[in-house]
């Protein structure tokens, strides 16, 4: 009897050398399509809507009010004095600092008012200055009180809570006037 010799089969393998290429292709796709832009901007909380008939005017003492007015020509008034936009933060800072130890109902209120024709960019620049003033005061407070920088203090810690309580950012967007159109 002739012994049939079994053909020696090569071990079955799946060629995996192209696997890397395929996954690279996929990787490339996701790399390209990923948007890592973080949304940045100036945060603000709007006041609740109150119908005009129910609106009440609450008098605010001049001492704690910083009224910022921007007209359509780009002139800026801070408490009835003409001011250049880059000066706003410098002017506001001492006023914010002087109110750090006041109770909550005596803190500074910044009111921003614009005309309908005011340029949006100008408004943002002014708002930026106001925010900048507040951030600088907070930064200095954090440094003097805790010896830390503001970014090193976590959002939920007691220290941050105290900073936010001592230096709250109150920016009031004035109710638009219906007459000016």
């Amino acid at each position: 009897m002739v012994k049939i010799k079994k053909k020696e089969k090569p071990e079955p393998v799946i060629p995996t050398s192209s696997m890397a290429d395929i996954s690279f292709l996929l990787l490339l796709f996701f790399l390209v399509s990923t948007v890592i832009d973080v949304d940045t901007g100036i945060g603000l909380t709007l006041p609740e809507f109150v119908p005009p008939s129910e609106q009440k005017t609450v008098p605010i003492s001049k001492d704690r009010l910083a009224a910022l007015l921007i007209n359509e020509n780009g002139d800026v008034l801070l408490n009835n004095e003409i001011i250049a936009i880059p000066q706003i933060s410098k002017t506001l800072k001492p006023r914010i600092i002087s109110k750090i130890n006041e109770p909550a109902n005596k803190k500074l209120v910044v009111s921003v008012k614009t005309d309908r024709k005011t340029n949006y960019n100008l408004y943002i620049q002014a708002l930026d200055q106001v925010k900048e003033a507040y951030f600088q005061v907070r930064e200095e407070y954090a440094r003097d009180r805790y010896g830390k920088r503001l970014i090193d203090i976590s959002d939920k810690s007691d220290e941050m809570k105290e900073i936010k309580e001592k230096i709250p950012i109150t920016i009031s967007i004035a109710e638009p006037e219906t007459i000016k159109k």
């Binding site: 399509s33 973080v38 100036i42 006041p47 708002l127």
Partner: protein
Amino acid sequence: MKFQKKRAATKQQIPTASLPDIVFMLLLFFMVTTTLREVDVLVSFKLPEAKAIEKIENKRLVSYIWVGKDGRIQVNDSIVLLDQIQKIMYAKRVQLPNVIVSLRIDKNSDMGVVTDIQQELRKASCLRINYSSMLKV
């Protein structure tokens, strides 16, 4: 006399078997972190620049309103009229109670349209807003 070339006994290949695994790992990272852009922006706009800006930590909370150079307003995927905003945004707010509305407004717009949108947002009680702006360097 024949010289025998001296060669190291080890294989002279870089093992590539684990390469796919490494790449897949990278791939997975990008797949997880990617948020595919789900809307087409139909208006052209240029954001203003500012210094004291904050990051929005949670992207899932953000909802956008665009205002283009020509004053057209876009919410979601379509151009809307001013008086439609309240309804749309209220529906959004019901779904997501602490929604942050990011206003991507062209820097040459008038404040009139901004104020109008803000009034609509107040009526829809979407009170957390964010004026989207670039970092000034």
